[in-house]
Amino acid sequence: MSETFTARVWVLGDDIDTDIIIPTEYLALKTIDDMKQYGFSPLRPELAAQIQPGDVIVAGKNFGCGSSREQAPEIIKALGIRAVIAKSFARIFFRNSINNGLLLIENGDLHDAVKEGDEIEVTMGERIVANGKEFPIASLPQNLLDIINAGGLVKAMRKRNGLD
């Protein structure tokens, strides 16, 4: 039986870049917890304080484009975001998210069918239900799911490669 969860939606646009997710000037802060209050601040300064654990972000195409800074997915995860659902993801961000245990879901149609504050129901690897409509979603390959479920690549690596 696939895992199902419901979540409140925050809607962002196309090409949300890593400098928006976490501007360079805050990268010098000591911890991700210190940085997370500035997440998305160039675009939506109020957003980080309003996100509740378990919420999801629904975005347009090319989410996470730009720099390789891994603080970007780490901050989204630290803010409590359960998943980012976008039309598409930039590749370095995609890898970094998997490696940090942040769930990413690709869907081309959901973004145009939800508004901020909507509640959606996600059934992993099967579908999203939003405003009475169903949106099919693919499952990630098992090796990537294993990394996410382990809580990220470092933890998966400890398990798998016996580095402990």
């Binding site: 730009g66 390789s68 370095i92 490696n99 690549l153």
Partner: protein, 416 residues
């Protein structure tokens, strides 16, 4: 079925005869570059998250402090010290204050046919020497550093067949911005961008590095070029030999192919806040600027500085503009001193800085304030990229940036 350059490099790194786009392979890395943007995070994970960690092959590691050099705060200094101490303890090749990481890699390490991870998105620059360079985050970097390996999805390739020659006053920067504008910021997502054709012989190594470097702004995983005499001359002048010189097979499959006549390219600017939002520079004339930046891994090489110096010789930087000139490496800097280029910039009133990433990454020196506008040869113009969220960045060639620094507003060299 034939293979592309990208497929051939991955096949070699995976130790198999052939691969095809869409396959996932475990690959052995040839080189692992990391800079002070994220190395402190890699070290923290290495020291605190792993028990009895080890480095698979320390000779493959190159660590470079270039993003915040000289350090601008006690926090940065502590991060640099962590990196410096770890590099010394483990015998890692370590560079500090000698230039922007990708320029140092091109000058000293990259060999055709290699597969290189860099903990920096612009690692795709190494394709100018026929190497598969790709950007990764610090966790992927850590995994590769500890195991010597990683996994890669074999990318599809978009091929650009270039013919002809850029016109006088038009540069590689205009060409690559035009291409990114054409295919979009996600136009090459997860893909390789390959550049071939007769037009390549009219593009110098500086041009080629600039082109490959910016391909990540179209979402590309890597950029690749064939290894010709121009590339071999560059390599041999630095005492290196290729690992493999690959070309795509005639029956290789491409996701898309574009023919571009270089003579059709014109001066271009990318408007705030997206690299793919490009317009002909002549349509941006008159936009007032507060700062101009000539430098970065994209356009801080000797030919870029020559273009700027030739324009500004006998002229002055506009009194309301700060003009930052930042050589991409000390090799470039010293050559520019010998040619009198640095003297020319200083006489014109430019601020000449040490080789580093500077305002291109919006920390350290040169950041701009609320309401200010920068014209830059840097890599990105995202919202807030160069400082305050309410500032603006235009991207353009060394010529357009220098001309604008002189006029105090966006202009092209022919309008001076």
């Amino acid at each position: 079925m034939g293979m592309t350059i990208a497929e051939k490099i991955i096949a070699a790194a995976a130790g198999v005869d052939s691969v095809k786009a869409g396959d996932i392979h475990t690959v052995e890395l040839d080189r692992l570059m990391s800079n002070d943007g994220t190395t402190h995070l890699t070290i923290d994970m290495y020291n605190n998250k792993l028990k009895n960690p080890h480095i698979a092959d320390v000779k493959k590691l190159v660590w470079i402090i270039d993003h915040n050099i000289p350090s601008d705060s006690p926090k940065t200094a502590a991060s640099h010290k962590k990196m410096r101490d770890f590099a010394r303890e483990h015998g890692i090749d370590f560079w500090e204050g000698k230039g922007v990481c990708h320029q140092i890699m091109m000058e000293n390490y990259v060999r055709p046919g290699e597969l290189i991870f860099g903990a920096d998105s612009h690692t795709c620059a190494y394709g100018a020497l026929g190497a598969f360079g790709t950007g990764v985050g610090c966790t992927d970097y850590l995994y590769a550093m500890v195991t010597g390996k990683s996994w890669l999805l074999v990318p599809e390739t978009i091929r650009f067949n270039l013919t002809g020659k850029l016109r006088e006053g038009v540069y590689a920067r205009d060409l690559i911005l035009t291409i990114i504008g054409k295919i979009g910021a996600a136009g090459a997502s997860y893909m390789a961008m390959e550049f071939v054709g007769d037009g390549m012989k009219n593009l110098t190594m500086d041009d080629r590095i600039s082109m490959c470097n910016l391909c990540v702004e179209a979402g590309a995983k890597t950029a690749l070029m064939e290894v010709d005499d121009i590339a071999l001359d560059y390599l041999h002048a630095r005492g290196r030999e290729p690992k493999h010189c690959f070309k795509s097979d005639e029956d290789a499959v491409f996701a898309a192919e574009y023919d571009i006549d270089l003579a059709t390219i014109e001066p271009i600017v990318a408007r705030p806040d997206f690299v793919d939002d490009v317009i002909p520079a002549k349509e941006a004339l008159g936009v007032k600027i507060d700062e101009a930046f000539l430098g970065s891994c994209n356009n801080g090489r000797l030919s870029d500085l020559r273009v700027g110096a030739d324009l500004i010789r006998g002229r002055k930087v506009h009194p309301l503009v700060r003009f930052l000139v930042v050589p991409a490496s000390n090799e470039v800097y010293e050559a520019a001193i010998k040619e009198g280029i640095i003297q020319t910039f200083m006489e014109a009133g430019a601020i000449v800085m040490n080789a580093n990433c500077s305002v291109c990454w919006g920390s350290c020196q040169g950041v701009i304030g609320a309401g200010e506008t920068l014209i830059s040869t840097g890599t990105r113009n995202f919202k807030g990229r160069a400082g305050h969220p309410d500032s603006k960045v235009y991207l353009a060639s060394a010529a357009t940036v220098t001309a604008s620094a002189i006029k105090g507003e966006i202009t092209t060299a022919d309008k001076l």
